[in-house]
């Protein structure tokens, strides 16, 4: 796919816009792109990045530089080509979700897929409240974009912006009419979120991936139900989104 934009939007965080094949099949929020990084075979594994938005043949990903692959990505210039497989995985099941009050809960690099999700939900006449957690003020991104979708609460670990603390701390103050939650972020956060809420919800998991297409069994997680016929789920194929409670966190 072609790079249309690749810009710094927050501390070590970049927003990349791509266009090319596949974009039209990117319809379900929560899916990811599987991106080749580096030249030749210097990096044998692709990097999964969530779809943060799709708009007029343009797909957006938002990524944080954490290692060599994301570093390499951040150095791509406009007009260059990036080798992308996607969309992969099973995203948030929002078909038919209408006129509900949904809360989106995201932490760090779990925030990006929630934006596309929120946009879709609003298009489907839902009310959306977003609770987004970041490490600190420097790391906050897309605040205004989320505000356009609905009420948006920001937390930072160090209190340098918004509420000081974790997103789970705010669950109690949420409006009682919330009907469902969708969440993406680090495992401890997802655990906290799914243990705190009593309403139904869906969570999106991360795991180190090999193939990213369901063939290598690198990314499995256990099902909560010991009677489940398979006993496991593949995050790259059955997920990354699962109904809260389906898999062991």
């Amino acid at each position: 796919m072609h790079v249309l934009q690749n810009k710094w939007i927050a501390s070590n965080t970049f927003e990349m816009k791509l266009t090319g094949r596949f974009v039209n099949s990117m319809k379900q929020p929560g899916q990811f792109l599987h991106i080749k990084v580096g030249d030749g075979t210097s990096h044998v594994l692709r990097r999964p990045l969530s779809i943060a938005n799709v708009d007029h043949h343009i797909v957006t990903v938002i990524y944080k530089i954490v290692g060599k692959g994301t570093k390499w990505l951040s150095e791509r210039k406009i007009g260059e080509t990036v080798d992308v497989i996607g969309p992969r995985g099973t995203g948030f099941p929002i078909e038919g979700v209408r006129n509900e009050h949904i809360v989106l809960i995201g932490g760090g690099v779990g925030v990006p897929p929630l934006y596309y999700l929120g946009r879709k939900l609003v298009q489907q006449s839902n009310t959306v409240t977003s609770v987004l957690g970041f490490q600190g003020k420097d790391g906050v991104f897309y605040e205004d974009a989320f505000r356009e979708l609905g009420e948006t609460l920001i937390t930072t670990d160090d209190g340098s912006y918004g509420y000081k603390g974790r997103v789970t701390d705010l669950i109690g103050v949420l409006n009682q009419d919330v009907t469902q939650y969708f969440s993406c972020g680090p495992k401890p956060m997802l655990k906290g979120v799914s243990e705190t809420f009593t309403i139904p919800g869906f969570i999106s998991l991360e795991e180190r991936m090999g193939c990213g297409v369901g063939a290598c069994f690198a990314c499995v997680c256990e099902t909560s139900d010991p009677e489940d016929s398979k006993g496991y789920r593949k995050i790259c194929q059955d997920g990354p989104v699962f109904p809260a409670g389906e898999v062991v966190l």
């Binding site: 080749k36 990096h43 044998v44 692709r46 180190r208 990213g212 063939a215 290598c216 690198a218 990314c219």
Partner: protein, 311 residues
Amino acid sequence: MDLRVSLPGLELKNPILPASGCFGFGREFSEFYDLNELGAITIKAATSEGRFGNPTPRVAETSGGMLNAIGLQNPGVKRIMEEELKFLEQYETPILANVAGSTEEEYVEVARELGAHHRVNALELNISCPNVKEGGIQFGTDPSLAASLTRAVKSVSEVPVYVKLSPNTGDIVEMAKAVEGAGADGLSMINTLVGMKLDLGTGRPILANGTGGLSGPSIKPVAIRMVYQVSQAVSIPIIGMGGVTCVEDVLEFLLAGASAVAVGTANFQNPLICPELIEQLPELMDRCGYGSVQACIGRSFKHEETSLSGT
């Protein structure tokens, strides 16, 4: 250009097959291309009962390679036959079924069942999985254990048996000769080298299992060397693998003495790698002056013999 290769149990229309464990049971890749294009399909290791495998993380990237410690996760031989081989019935491509186990009895049981399945053309005895304590690696590092296991499996298998060798040994030739002597119909080599990567943040190994198997371009020179040495020491054919990412690598394995070439890790970076290699091979062979795959096999040392004997 003649790409055909005829191996015990496997009539390959071209020498390219996916390596076990990197291709599942073919289902996912069938969305990318028609599996009938492949020379053969190696399916993921089967054990007698289903196994969940190791805790995650199970993979880590290294310079020019990767570590995996999947831990032989598979649904067990019964479900593989019922669900996966069933799915593969729609294709004509020969199937090489990878067999694993913790005990000789388990290997024998799995081999008996899979070898009797009409869709399985040959077995690949995985005595080299480094990632589970009870994964057969003990068989893969001791030539006499390997030989006795090979003999036991041969005695029950209805199809030819390829033994998959571990590179984690000081003497690969000795190992190869031992299993050849025990009746192996062919060899697969190499499995992964045992490696480790630490997470500098936590100070601990990245893989939950601690160690993992190193695959990818990093290990190709070791694989080429082993195929070169072993193919001159045995008379059974070799399916070569380890780090193949481009058509030049395929030719290198053939010249080193492999009769067919399996592609593992590279499927992860490029799901279309196998059909691309099949398409590109004739042009490269032609450019290098080879008229058939058969003519390439072992050329590195056959060449030498010729010139040494003065002709």
